[in-house]
Every structure is written in C-alpha cells, then in structure tokens.
C-alpha cells in the first residue's frame, strides 16, 4: 500500500512538470497580423524514406530557401515513411492550424490515400504550390533474362511469373504497373516496398524481375551499366542515359502513360498569410539557377510553378482522373 502511494506521488510530481509543458505548447501558433513569417524552424515532412525523389525534392527546396535567405527560419526535413504516405498525411493533419509545417505532396500519395481509403486524404490538407513533373520508367538489371520490354511483356503473359517492384501501394508506381498490366494485357505481380532505394536493392539482389521508379532514383546504376531502362511511362522519350528506352505508345500500347507530380502541402486551416508567404518562397526557389541546374536538369524533371490556388484546382481535376483509372483497372472497387 505504501508503495502504491509512492507511485502516485511520483506520478503527481511529473504532473507538475507537465502543466508547464502543456501551457507552453498551447497558443504558440502565431496569429497572422498582416504578414507572416515563421517563428521557429519549419518542419518539412517527407512521406517516404530518405534518399528517394520526394526526399531530394524537400532537401533541395530547403537548401535553396535557406541559402538564398528566402525564409528567416530553416526548413527541417523529417522523413515519415509508411502507410503509403498515410502516416505522414495523418501526422500533418493532426497539426491543424500550424503554420510551421510543410509536407512534400506527390500525386502518388494522393492516389494511395484514396485507394487505401485512408482517414486523411489530400483534400483535407492545404494545397501549396506544384513545383515539377517527373517521369516514370521500368528498369531491370543488366544480367536479367528480359533484355527489352517486349521480352518482359511476353513472359508476363504467364500469370505471376514476372515480379515488378515499386514503392508503396496505390502510388504512381502502382498505377503505372496497373496500366501496363491492363493495356499490355499481361499478368505481372506487384511487390510493394517502402522506398525506391529498397526497390533497387531487391532488383540488384535478384529478388524481383523489374522495378518501376523515377529516373533520378536509378541514374547512378544506369551509368554504371548495372541497370537497364526498359520503357518509359511518359509521352515522349526522356533524354541522355535513358534515351534508348521507348515509350509504350511507340510499342503500340495505348493508354500506358502517367507522370508524377511534385508539389507541397500544409496542415489544414493554415492561415492565408502563411499560404501567401510559402507561395512566395517557393516561387523564388523555382526561379533560381540552382533549382534549374542542380535539381530539374540532372533529375530529368520538367519545371512548373502553380500557386496554391492553382494547385488546388489542378489536383481536384487530377483526383477525378486517378479515381477513374483505378476504378477502371479494378484497384478501387
């Protein structure tokens, strides 16, 4: 009994300390009086593991914004993988009204939260600018038995024979895969990984037959000749190292076409002043030479800039499109 009292006592002691923290925690989200500036380091959430395309995107934005003095406070990148983006979505959603949280928004995550019927979907968050369009491609390792896309598709006619890896479920990778299955009339199977680094590891280790990823994920391996690009999911061929990979349209397959969209989002109820502030910072970032030369160019990306308002309109239309495609290929039932 005495012990029990002591346990209570020690818990109470901590309670006293807690009250301090709790009162410190409340009311720290500054009210906008005219113009907004972040008062502390801005948390920049990346909904996938470090080293992938979204991660790189977040890191280059924070680097430029900080280096060029576009923001008084640094953007700190936090990786929050899992749940096909759902984990990060839920986290950002829980920070309602917080003006110092940003998140990389990739159309793949928008899709997966819809497909997975996650409790938090992108329309519950605040849309911030769209910054780039990215390409998708399917690759294999150099010593693979499928040296071109036709060989792979031929083998994939046997159900579950060809294993194709991609990051997360219901993502752009997955959608690209489903489009390929449907319109090339094959039955490959999809193996889901947490990030593109893991997919490539599994490909090189011989555990899967092909991988769907972005050009920047695999440039190093392609240069070394260890990975060969088989085909691209874009409208046109992408340049340089990936020049040899045909589009699916060239091969006579219609409808196997998808781009990745890279944008930014914030927590729900972000103040109008904060939205204007980030619109401005991101616009400035996308106008720098460093953005063009060190991000867009080496990663084979197409630069765009849409304000938060334009992004909202854009994504609302896109979401309708994704729903249609996923329903068509049977991922949404």
């Amino acid at each position: 009994m005495k012990k029990f009292v002591k346990i209570i006592a020690s818990t109470l002691l901590v309670g006293a300390l807690l009250t301090g923290c709790a009162s410190g925690g409340a009311g720290k989200t500054g009210e906008g009086n005219g113009s907004f500036e972040p008062k502390r380091e801005v948390e920049f959430v990346v909904p996938s593991s470090a080293g992938g395309g979204s991660d790189l995107n977040a890191r280059i934005i924070s680097e430029i914004a900080f280096k060029e003095g576009f923001t008084p406070k640094n953007f700190m990148v936090t990786n929050m993988p899992g749940g096909s983006g759902g984990v990060a979505f839920a986290d950002v959603y829980s920070k309602k009204g917080n003006n110092e949280t940003l998140m990389i928004l990739h159309n793949g995550q928008i899709m997966s939260t819809i497909v997975n019927e996650s409790p938090v979907t992108s329309d519950m968050l605040t849309y911030l600018p769209v910054v780039a369009f990215d390409n998708l491609l399917i690759v294999t390792r150099a010593d693979s038995e499928y040296q071109d896309i036709e060989a792979l598709l031929e083998a994939a006619k046997t159900p579950d024979k060809v294993k194709v890896g991609g990051s997360q479920r219901g993502n752009t990778d997955h959608l690209a895969f489903e489009l390929m299955n449907k319109y090339a009339e094959v039955e490959a199977s999809y193996v889901q990984f947490d990030g593109s680094g893991d997919v490539l590891g599994a490909l090189l280790g011989g555990h899967i037959d092909a991988a769907i990823c972005n050009p920047s994920d695999t440039l190093g391996q392609v240069q070394a000749g260890e990975v060969i690009p088989l085909a691209v999911f874009s409208q046109e061929r992408i340049g340089k190292e990936f020049e040899d990979a045909p589009t699916f349209a060239e091969l006579g397959y219609e409808g196997i076409e998808i781009d990745a969209v890279r944008a930014i989002a914030g927590p729900p109820e972000m103040s109008a002043e904060a939205i204007a502030f980030y619109d401005e910072v991101i616009r400035k970032v996308t106008e720098t030479d460093q953005w063009k030369n060190e991000y867009l160019e080496p990663n084979n990306l197409e630069g765009v800039y849409m304000t938060s308002a334009e992004a909202k309109e854009f994504f609302e239309k896109e979401i309708e499109k994704y729903k249609e495609i996923f329903t068509e290929v049977g991922v949404i039932k």
Partner: protein, 506 residues
Amino acid sequence: MGNVQLLLEGIGTALSFQNLIAAFAGAIMGLIVGAMPGIGSLAGVALLLPLTFKMNPTTAIIMLAALYYSNMYGGSFSAILLNIPGDSPAIMTSLDGYPMSRKGEAGKALFTASVSSFIGGTIGIIMLTFIGPLAAKWGLSFGPAELTWLIVLALTSIGWLIGDKPAAGLLATALGMMIATVGFDKALGQPRFAFGNVNLFSGVAFIPLVIGMFGFGQVIDMVVNRDNYASVSSKKLSIKESIVNKDEAKRIAPVAVRSGLLGTFIGILPGAGATMGAFLSYVTEKKIGKNKDQMGKGAVEGVAAAEAANNGAAMGAFAPLLSLGIPGSGTSAVLLGGLMMWGLQPGPLLFKNNPDFVWGLIGSMYIGNIICLIIAILSIPILMKVVTVPSSLMVPLISSICIIGTYSVNNSMFDVYLMIGAGVLAYLMSLADIPAAPLLLSFVLTPMLEMYIRQSFDISGGSLGVFIQSPISKVLCTLIILFSVTPILLKIFNKKPPVDMSEMDA
C-alpha cells in the same frame, strides 16, 4: 594492393586541417546527440545535413559520418549511467551497463563501452576498406525472405536472453509486437487499433516508449525503493578503478572482436542495422560466452558485445551506400540524400568517379574513431560524477529529462502521456520480473518483419516455398529450429535435479 595506396591517399585527405576539424566537430556532436535520450543518429544527421551544403562534399561527409559513428559511443553513456538508452542500438548496452553502474562500476562500464566501441568500429572500417563493395553485393542476396528469417531469429532468441525465465521474455516480446501493430498498416494504409485517435494513426512512437520504459520506469523504482539507491551515491569512486585490469581486458577482447565482426556483417545487410547487430551479438555471447551466467547482471562482456556490435554495424552500413548507392539503414539513407545534394551521383561508379571522396571518407573513419575513443575516455571522469548525484536530485532531474526529451521530438503532449504510461507499465512489469528490453526490441523489429513477410508473399504469389528457396534461408531456418528446440531438449535432459528439489520441498 590498390586499395592500400588509395587508403593512404585517403588518410592524407582526411588529415588536412579542415577535415580534421570536421571529424572532431562531428565526433563531439555525435557524442552529445547520442547521449541525449530522444535524439538518435538519424535525427542528428538530418539536423546537421542542411548546414553542410556549403562545404565541400568530402569535408561534409566526414563530419556527418563522424556524427553517425560517434553517436554509437554516446548512446552508451546514458544507457549506463541513467538506464536510458540514448538510441535504440544502446538498449542492449543498458542491460549490463546499468547494473554495473549500480554496483559502483560506472567508470569501468563506460571504459569498456568506449574501448569495445573502438574495437568494433575499427573492425568495421577494416572490412569496409578491403571487402566493402564485395560484401555489399553479397548483402543484396538477402531478399525479403532471408530478412524475414533474420528477424525471426532475433525474436526467437529473446528466449535465451532471459535464460531463467523464457516465458517472461516471450511475454514481453509478444507485448512489443502488439504495440507495434498500432497505427497504419504498412501495406494497405489502414489504421489498426487506433480507436479513431489521430495521434495513434501513425502508431506508437519509439522515443516515448523507450524513454518511458527505461527512464521513467527507473524514476518510479527510485521513488518506491529509495533505500536501494542511497548506498551507491555514498560510495567513493576513483578514476583509477575505471580502467579495466588485465583479467577484464582478456575477457573483453574476444567478445569485442566477435561482436564487431557480426555487427559489421549485420550492418552491411539491407535494412537490418545497428539495433539488430547489437541484439544478435549480445545473445550470441549470452549463448557461447565464457561468462554467460553473469550477463544481464552487470558483466563487462554484455557491454562489450553490444557496443562493439553497434559500432561495427554503423560502419558496415557504409558499404552498400558507397559501393551500390543503396542505403543500409535509416541514417545512411539520409546520407544518400546528402550525396545528391552535394552534387555527387551515388551508385556503383562512385568509387571510380569520386575516389577522393570515398577514400577520404574511409581514411577519416580510422582517424575519427581514434578521436571518438579519446574524447569518450576523457569524458569518463566527468560522466562518473552523475552517479554521485543523490537520488533526491536524480529523481526530478531524470523526470525532467524524460519529459523534455519526449516533448521536444514532436512537440506533442500525447507523446508525453504515452511516455508516462510506458513508465508505469515498465514498473509493473518489473514487479512481475518481466524484462522491458525484449518488448522494445520486438517493437522495433515487428514492422520490418511484417513488411518482409508481405513482400515475400508478393514475390511467391502466396506460396510458402519462398521461405526455403535460397541456401541462406535454409541455413537461417535450420538455426532457428535448432535454437528453439535445444533449450527444450536440454531442459528435458536436465530435468531430474529440479524435480528432486521440488519433491524435497513438498
């Protein structure tokens, strides 16, 4: 050997003034970050990364790498002194480190941890230097099925970890697995056991759990069993005593070498990491070590095994990163992002295209590891003073550290409540002699296990055959069966004496 010449050039690069300063700064920051509960190497490297963008890539990676591996040294400090592992790889260190500290051997524990860290780290660097790219390639042959077995091996071996009471260990393991399933299902993105609570959608966070179970659970114990804690503080501690004697050095050396090798090997594998390295090395020692009975009660071997292994693993994680452009751990994934930011192209050509960078980094690791050892040993006298703080001060102090450490990670009060709940749970568990370490380890490993099982089935199309397809799987599977059946068989054969005893009692 071309490697030796390149290495010497690399050491030359690393010895330049700015690179030495970078290694030194990284080492100091790593020790501090490692010692602070709540911030691990992942957060430390991620926090520092943006500040390195203006540096030249070699200097930048030298600093970040130093932060990464010295973090493993620092993690042992709070594990030994306060029973709060600074980071998940230090969980195993606290198992013997803290009991040593309670016996008045805090200095000795810290010294053992530092020296073993150095030995493990050095083994890791040597392996990285000579067989790095080769080992990394081989590491890729561990696919989802093989990694599934590796984790199952770790989870089943918890039974040996708590030798006298396997049931309690298994219970804790199961509890950890259950807690780990809270939150989003990795594969389908559906929330599980979240009860509509947004805070639980992303699952139970590791930091509040570890700080609560070790740190705050400790506070409760300190308040309840006040008399036990008074004795330690009154003991005089001398620095001389902290240096291990010849006999102990003989005990530590083979353990550190074995664990360093095993740790490095685990570090090279994709997705395994330092926590699993420390864990598997500890259980290996617990099984085959000369002093296995004392392990868990404050034996230098326990500290040596855990620390040598987690340092080895930290070094091993660099092999796939540098030679393949594929991250072997969360922290090295951040470094991969760093490579791109510095304008390097990670991938198989990195060794060829940027030899100054790669060999400068490897060279700096030899030097950085020595720097870490020196700083760690020099800080022992200061650290030891922590033990002499009377518990009347320690209780509010540790409580504050626990709360601030938890709160600062996500600025979330929910996490703080979770931390306190975990502390109470840990205390109740300790009353029932249920260890907390297996719970935390299975909590860390379960999400990975789930993902690998799922991927294996994706690959096999639902057939179980995938789990015994490769030779590696077969070996691991055999080991698991062997390890789980042996204790039972041994018990049957040794049954007689205890039976007699109980009859006598009756």
